[in-house]
Subunit: 366 residues, 2 copies
């Protein structure tokens, strides 16, 4: 099958790199008795080739087992460039949906999705971007954007470094940042949904509402803003002790719920930045034999499927993360030179509260 390539004697004057050993377009041309250009035309599809010729070429290609070399096309810019997705970890449920959405769009455009993980380390993130620049991706989706330490300077530097090699940076998981309108963002409006959750809990009779997830990242900042606004609208006082930064795991939720309980004038409701955090609060409620939602109302975020399995079922926020991934990929893939406008496009995705018994006085059975 590789005979043609292997047997082809290297020209005497050859000083280039060793051939890959693959069957090349020229091998097919020789076999079919046509010029390389004709073979190229057959496989590009867009030029006109006589049926007879096309058949000959396809036959020869089939015999030799020819497969177009996408790497060569990539160098010429005639193959779709790859799309890169950078995330912190894969184990958060929302991420997988996002990746699936991005993958879908990438593949529909003939591109493919490359995955890179930072493990929460900004230095690794920077190294990844630097390395990916060499691969000339069409774009980079930065899914760590929402939960990384808030650092617009770094984001802007990334965007410019990528733009220099023709790649578009899209920050995923957060709505447009007021102080950086030049950056592409796709994500949930955490401020609005948090505001709505405050109202939801208030209507359930709660007056001391804690926020677990007010860290110094985009999601945390937005949540805090919406939280404050909600309290303000309802005439509730803001208590800094109730707005907490937490890591995103069950244990952190458990710890924070315990800490909250130990304070004077403890909260009776918790808005959690994720369903996992919420599970930690459940643990405390169970261990302390507190009734949910009367003594402990709990709202999560992400609509993880286990939220329906816990007892009582968990109120949460559904976010179409697949859409986030799709939108982000779409922005990254659209050729920016198509339009003269260099205007960044951003998309805010709305979340939806899914009310369940964990926040309702009358525990309705599902």
């Amino acid at each position: 099958m590789k005979a043609a390539a292997t047997d082809r004697p290297r020209k005497r004057g050859s000083r280039g790199p060793t051939p890959a050993g693959d069957v090349s377009l020229r091998d097919v041309a020789a076999q079919a008795g046509v010029s390389p250009a004709t073979v190229s035309r057959v496989f590009s599809g867009n030029a006109s080739v006589q049926d007879e010729t096309r058949r000959k070429v396809l036959k020869a290609a089939d015999e030799l087992g020819y497969v177009v070399n996408g790497l060569a096309k990539a160098m010429l810019g005639t193959a779709p460039r790859i799309l890169v997705l950078i995330a912190s970890e894969l184990n958060c449920p929302e991420f997988t949906e996002l990746a699936a959405g991005a993958e879908q769009v990438a593949h529909d455009n003939g591109s493919c999705l490359a995955l890179a993980l930072t493990h929460g380390d900004p230095a690794v993130e920077q190294a990844i971007i630097e390395r990916m620049r060499q691969r000339r991706p069409v774009g980079v989706l930065l899914a760590t954007a929402g939960t990384n330490p808030y650092n617009i300077t770094a984001m802007r530097a990334y965007a410019e470094a990528l733009k220099a090699v023709g790649a578009t940076l899209v920050l995923c998981g957060q709505t447009p940042m007021a102080d950086a309108p030049d950056l592409h963002c796709v994500g949930v409006d955490r401020a609005e949904i948090t505001r709505a959750l405050v109202h939801h809990l208030y209507e359930g009779g709660h007056r001391r509402i804690a926020l677990l997830g007010a860290g110094d990242h985009a999601a945390g900042r937005q949540s805090l803003a919406g939280y404050k606004q909600g309290l303000n609208e309802l005439g509730l006082a803001f208590d800094a002790n109730l707005a907490r930064a937490v890591r995103d795991d069950v244990e952190s939720g458990q710890l924070e719920a315990l800490l909250a309980r130990s304070r004077p004038n403890p909260p009776s409701a918790f808005i959690c930045r994720s369903d996992q955090i919420a599970l930690g609060v459940y643990r405390v409620a169970r261990d302390s034999r507190l009734s949910i939602p009367d003594q402990f109302a709990i709202a999560g975020f992400g609509d993880s499927f286990f939220g329906r399995e816990v007892d009582p079922a968990l109120t949460t926020v559904r976010v179409p993360y697949a859409q986030v991934g799709e939108q982000a990929a779409t922005i990254a893939l659209q050729r920016l030179d198509d339009q003269d406008t260099d205007a960044p496009s951003s998309v805010a995705i709305a979340g939806e509260i899914i009310p369940r018994p964990s926040t309702r006085a009358e525990a309705v059975r599902f």
Copy 2:
């Protein structure tokens, strides 16, 4: 920044494709007053270049914002080829661990991990492989292998098609297949762990043990084999009605548990192919007010974190999926031409039963 590239007048005779517009090695050479070869040597790192010259080159490169073009290197075979991971969906927890492990190894080798999803459609799978062949990956990890319809002919065809372009196929999620020793496999020994689970449930007093997950895929076949062996060792009769093929979601588990209940001589214990299936059985237990584990013993698979949150906590099987990903990636990345042996390497990873109250008569509090 792009000045050098843009201003460079195209040679009169040029008929090639339009230049990418990037700063190239030649631009740097011109700026530094050296030959392109020297610049190449500086960035390749392995050749000897005078310190003085190196400095000049790096300075010029920095001024122009030069970034090595990995696509050109890829074509020459001097850049690491990509590693492809094909999966059905992303939403199963074990998959994310696997991907993370593979990503780690890929990046440590200077490669990168491309993700592709089949959505359970074999036709899509085939199309993906065909397309990926063009990108000349170093290898393809097929994570759908364990749960796809059992089809060795197709696997072997994939392996050969990939080998023709220099790529290695590794089947993930299943132990070596007895009838296809020529295929690389990395995965959990489902037979052994299922056998162990049968014994575990037997010791808990159960004599009617159902298997939810005996479908016609590699994992199902192996599970069934281990299930039968376990029953046999314990002198229990095999009842085909108790070995069921199920889809991998909560609802399917629920349905199967209901069906099992409606049979004469129903089972009192369930070995589930995943924790999600197990959750479905929990639903039935809860709805029918059956006590777990006395009337309904339940064992899952995968050690999903929510297994600790349900009540009583779920007995499950922990599998080091990250290791599966790492091993698979390692096999794919190792240059096969290093050794003359074409012998396929396969790795069997052992699972570990994590006993929890859902299968124990005396419900120990964790």
